[in-house]
């Protein structure tokens, strides 16, 4: 061992040299990157390039419109953009020209787009609706969108989700993109109406937006009219350990029920548990509430058993009047949780009809 130590001390000088060489190598890489332009300059350069590109697109669109449509139409199109709209996180987003290539980053965002008559060139992998969007290229999941895929599609508008992608780590990444990012999600019933209205402004489809909003509001009014007042209902979700979580009114489905006038005993619960808008509900507290109706949501895919079929098989749950009378309904996962958005009218109708019986 001492021999090794002596030998090592002889080669020290050589090793120090190599340490320096390696540092110099990495240092050169950094200098190269700094000279190439540091990130601030590259942002500016990229933005300039993007503005130039969008201006070219705007000119091309204007020229195309003038060439193919009547003079009055082309004047309207020319005057509408550029347009600045506030998204659902109150960020001001400026759209330079009519968006032609739109990427949606969550099922809700995608459904908003198609409800307004738009089409996407990129969608999240978790989207299942509408059918027409299934052939569109996937850009990764809602929780981890792949920015290379998104940029590779050359979009001129990105619709992100104001609920799923509102954290700093996403917003920081959005800032580095050359494309405007509009955040629109569905965390509540009023979110859906606001998002449709504002996206309608972004896409210059204000009439379609108004039609959608009216359709949804009509279904809400119709649902309220068939509902007996004072009905109580809860929405349950279970995790792998069969811990129950009840929806508070801060969740989407809870807020829909609140708008319908349904009494939700879980709305007073303190925030507890890892799921936003849902709170841990022990079996004792479920028995204390004894709601008139129990809605269930099962996030696990088939062939996992649905929570609605599992509930009656748990002995203490049989003390609930809803379980005894069979007043349990499994809500479709997409419209109740995963893809909340313009299909809220289906959710409203389903809840109201179940409670009306």
């Amino acid at each position: 061992m001492i021999k090794e130590y002596e030998l090592k001390s002889l080669s020290l000088r050589g090793n120090s040299l190599f340490l320096l060489v390696i540092s110099a190598g990495i240092g050169l890489t950094l200098i190269l990157s700094a000279c190439g332009s540091d990130s601030l300059d590259s942002d500016a350069a990229v933005e300039e390039a993007a503005v130039a590109t969008t201006q070219q697109v705007a000119n091309a669109t204007a020229t195309a419109t003038t060439a193919t449509s009547s003079p009055t139409e082309s004047t309207v199109t020319d005057a509408y953009y550029p347009k600045t709209v506030e998204d659902l996180l109150d960020r001001e987003v400026t759209i330079a020209a009519s968006p032609e290539r739109i990427v949606a980053l969550s099922p809700s965002a995608l459904e908003y787009l198609y409800a307004l008559g738009g089409v996407a060139v990129g969608r999240p992998s978790s989207a299942r609706y509408p059918e027409a969007a299934m052939s569109v290229e996937s850009v990764g999941t809602s929780y981890a969108p792949n920015f290379e895929s998104i940029l590779g599609l050359n979009p001129d508008l990105i619709i992100a989700d104001s609920i799923i992608q509102a954290q700093p780590r996403f917003l920081e990444q959005f800032k580095g993109l050359p494309t405007p990012v509009f955040l629109a999600g569905a965390g509540s019933y009023s979110d859906v109406l606001t998002a449709l209205e504002r996206l309608g402004m972004v896409l210059n489809r204000n009439d379609e937006a108004q039609a959608e909003i009216t359709r949804i509001q009509t279904s809400m009014e119709a649902a309220k009219s068939v509902l007996p007042p004072g009905t109580s209902a809860i929405v349950l979700i279970a995790d792998r350990d069969n811990t129950f979580y009840a929806a508070k009114n801060t969740s989407f489905v809870g807020d829909v029920m609140d708008n319908l006038g349904v009494v939700n005993p879980a709305s007073d619960l303190p925030d507890a548990g890892p799921f936003p808008g849902f709170s841990t509900a022990s079996i004792e507290i479920l028995l204390a509430w004894n709601p008139d109706f129990i809605f269930t949501i099962t996030p696990a895919p088939e062939p996992a058993p649905r929570l609605s079929t599992l509930l009656p098989s748990i002995p203490p749950m049989r003390g609930l009047s809803a379980v005894q009378s069979g007043s349990i309904l499994e809500l479709p996962l997409e419209i109740a949780l995963q893809a909340s958005g313009p299909r809220v009218d289906q959710l409203v109708k389903l809840i109201a009809e179940s409670l009306a019986q």
Binding site: E4, F18, L30, G36, E148, L151, F170, Q173, P274
Partner: protein, 328 residues
């Protein structure tokens, strides 16, 4: 055996070349493939359009971050193994990663809108605090064995706290999978910029601690006769490892295996002297992390696997091969 017998010069050049190649490949591969010339163009010229944005804004900072994570973990692992004389020591086993992670989780729970610089500083503080905590708890007799045992206990405690926070807090859950499995999703220039701070730090750490740790390897009594302060040197090494671990955790979460395997692989290539070992571990760690991240991005594109679990896929076969060939 051929690798072990070649001169140190050749070995280092080989490692540097492999690191540069791994870096180049990480820039080439992804959702779309770029040839080497396109990559160079994308790096140097700022008007290549979308290609430039992908390479400059997405891949280049991500590869730099991956290299920093690998370098930091490799160096931390090497220092800890030399200090604790335990060939199975690494930042994760000694609980330093877990404490850095706990610091990050706490910051995210209390300040959900904290930007990446605040999160980075929290992790660094957590890593150094982790090292400090281990030293304090093994105070009086900072022996290698005691450091190891205390580290395992601290790590178990911190991991339990992290799981508790994830179970109880909806904010941390957002980070959870990417964080616990370890990965470079979303890393950008705000992570890569840490090289400016950490490259000089690594050089200072290696130059000041390598010889001292070599002296300690002769035994405390001989080391004291050579003018060393064994306790202080060990403390400095553990704290420095905490610093390196902190920055790695802040960028990529809890990555497995790199800190453990890099020193062993480096030792087989460049020898056992601490100076060689530390520098080699930096290079080996970077290579493992760059390759793992490239594979993670490509395998199920456009979705990504967490790179932190692929490090074991990449590194374990190399380690097993080296162990077997050394024993034969």
């Amino acid at each position: 055996m051929q690798i072990v017998k070649s001169t140190v010069v050749r070995s280092f050049l080989l490692l540097v070349l492999m690191a540069l190649l791994a870096f180049l490949f990480s820039l080439q591969f992804g959702t779309s493939y770029f040839g080497p010339i396109e990559v160079i163009n994308g790096l140097i010229f700022s008007d290549s359009g979308i290609d430039r944005t992908i390479i400059w804004e997405i891949r280049f900072p991500r590869s730099l971050s991956a290299a920093l994570v690998g370098a930091g973990l490799g160096l931390a692992g090497a220092m800890l193994q030399v200090t604790t004389r335990n060939p199975l020591a690494d930042p994760a086993i000694l609980g330093i990663s877990a404490l850095a992670g706990l610091a990050l989780a706490l910051v995210v729970v209390i300040f959900p809108l904290a930007n990446s610089y605040v999160r980075g500083m929290a992790c660094i503080a957590g890593g150094v605090a982790g090292g400090g905590l281990i030293l304090i708890l093994s105070r009086g007799f900072v022996s290698p064995l005691r450091i190891t045992i205390v580290g395992v206990a601290v790590g178990a405690f911190a991991s339990a706290c992290i799981i508790g926070l994830i179970t109880g807090s909806r904010v941390v859950l957002d980070l959870a999978l990417g964080f616990l499995a370890g990965g470079l999703y979303g890393s950008g220039w705000e992570d890569a910029f840490w090289w400016i701070v950490f490259l000089p730090l690594m050089c200072i750490g290696i130059i000041s601690l390598a010889n001292r740790l070599d002296n300690l390897a002769l035994g405390d009594e001989i080391a004291i006769n050579l003018g060393e302060n064994p306790d202080r040197t060990r403390a400095a090494a553990v704290l420095f490892s905490g610093l390196m671990t902190g920055i790695a955790v802040s960028i990529s979460g809890l990555v497995s295996f790199v800190g453990l395997a890099s020193p062993h692989i480096a030792r087989a290539i460049v020898g056992r002297g601490s100076l060689n070992l530390f520098t080699g571990s930096i290079l080996v760690g970077s290579i493992i992390m760059l390759v793992a991240d490239t594979v993670a991005r490509v395998v199920i594109s456009p979705s990504e696997l967490p790179a932190g679990i692929l490090t074991a896929f990449v590194g374990a076969p190399i380690l097993i091969y080296l162990v077997r060939s050394k024993l034969s």
